[in-house]
Symmetry: C2
Subunit: 298 residues, 2 copies
């Protein structure tokens, strides 16, 4: 059992000093407020005002607003000075009002029945977007990482059916759909960007169907890991081959259409075979080549 030189426990915790995310914290009583009424804590502000000092202490799991689609669409300048100056050409006209929210781990971000007129974008933390059957069977459609729009599909029109749920503590920024619509239609080239995001998402959805319909359990799980690694890498959230990995096996099971028990067995095999190493909510890819083989080829 080869072990990474970087003990992973430290990573998750010490880096931010700020310890919030990992407390599993049963549900604080007030949490219900969120989805219903756009609650309490939100202060409306322009993006620029929010200074998260992201770059200063930037530990490796952090995500820079510079890579955020909200920023790319010029919706939000994010927190970084740099981003701000880069975005300044359209700064005045394009910054949209938004409110920042913090959602504790395991709590619902968007209820399937009421997609409000607000569109959240993940700024920090991991979340999940899923559909659920009355009898409890659940399918996770995508993992939401920092910079992801929670359901681009309902950017222009509200859409129900999907639920979004925080995996770790999540901070997100909510935009008003109407603002957003106005904005997009005023800047048609933004629509093109949006269209590209749409196409990308569609491609993801097709892949998901292919995976679920036609790939074995091993393949699905290996692909899930590789996909996440790739997405995290794009956000500068990989530390070499190591990544934060807050998912419970139930999440993996619901994403791959498997059972938590079976997921456990497969992950166990992967670790015993020296493909990956999981510990303390961190996952390290040890043998990329083999993992890829497990993922791709039957």
């Amino acid at each position: 059992m080869k072990l990474t030189t970087v003990p992973a426990e430290q990573i998750g915790n010490k880096q931010n000093g700020n310890e919030l995310e990992f407390k599993h914290a049963g549900f604080p009583p007030e949490n219900i407020t969120n989805e219903a009424g756009y609650p309490a804590q939100q202060q409306w502000m322009h993006a620029a005002e929010l200074n998260q000092n992201v770059e200063a202490n930037s530990p490796q799991w952090n995500f820079s607003c510079a890579a955020c689609p909200a920023l790319e669409l010029k919706l939000c300048t994010g927190a970084t000075k740099k981003a701000e100056s880069e975005a300044n050409l359209s700064a005045d006209t394009s910054l949209l009002a938004s409110s920042v929210h913090t959602i504790p781990a395991r709590r619902t971000i968007c209820h399937p029945k009421e997609w409000s007129e607000f569109i959240p974008i993940i700024c920090h933390g991991w979340a999940v977007s899923s559909v659920t059957l009355p009898d409890g069977r659940r399918q996770i459609l995508s993992f939401l990482l920092p910079g992801d729009i929670v359901s681009t599909a309902c950017l222009l029109e509200p859409m129900s059916g999907r639920a979004a749920e925080a995996v770790t503590e999540v901070t997100c920024r909510k935009f008003k759909r109407s603002d957003l619509k106005d904005f997009l239609f005023k800047h048609p080239n933004q629509l093109e960007k949006l269209s590209r995001i749409w196409i990308e998402e569609r491609a993801q959805a097709d892949q998901l169907a292919l995976d679920l319909g036609r790939r074995s359990a091993d393949e699905r799980i290996a692909r899930l890991i590789l996909n996440l690694a790739e997405r995290l890498a794009k956000r500068g959230m990989m530390d070499g081959q190591a990544m934060e990995f807050p998912l419970r096996q139930r999440h993996i099971a619901d994403a791959t259409g498997l059972t938590p028990v079976h997921v456990s067995k497969v992950l166990g095999e992967f670790q015993r075979a020296g493909l990956i190493e999981i510990s303390s909510r961190s996952l390290t890819i040890i043998d990329v080549t083999e993992l890829r083989r497990a993922a791709d080829w039957r």
Copy 2:
């Protein structure tokens, strides 16, 4: 063994006179292309915007252009006089040039590697949109019925990864993407309609993932039948509980992530249980209630 009064073989073939053969024509040599890296591929469809008031003229398996999304978007006046006159208010400005094509059964309509600058819309016949792995495993993402846009996702930008293939002989109409884009941006309210189509498609994609990931073989197959029936009904293509059913069991298998053999067994059970009746390329739903139960509830 109750038999529909309308012998179905005629349907697929005789209509167009042109009877292109059933040659299975192995996959075009280039099919290896797909997999490598987590490539973008694919997309979905199920456009059907419903126009209930389908005209009376239609033979039972026929589809009136009046229900066509192309018409709804005012792209195409279709063939019916009536539709033409109804659409005339914007006839001059909105009609786009298009060309009509006839594709024999089993032939590729759109190749996964080269989604050209033309966007086809199905006018007649059944087709299928799918993604395929290098080793041959295939997942059908949707069935294309008359009025469906072949891949709405790549309306604005070309996208590759999906293949579209004719099931029966298909006639379709191709529009030029650039024309279409210009047109859509000139008429912003059309964009809204498009957006609604998109949302609808997304919902379908979510359902597909849920089906493949979390439902049993029986459920998937029953749902497939009910879905098709519903979509055909919207197009006025149901004859009571009977429908044209040109799908091979391989299509059903590839759509449900199962094996043709297993599909055969399940369909056999359904028939023996008196839920449906299949004969001569026609399917009749005999016990809707039970079929629905098989589809819905575990």
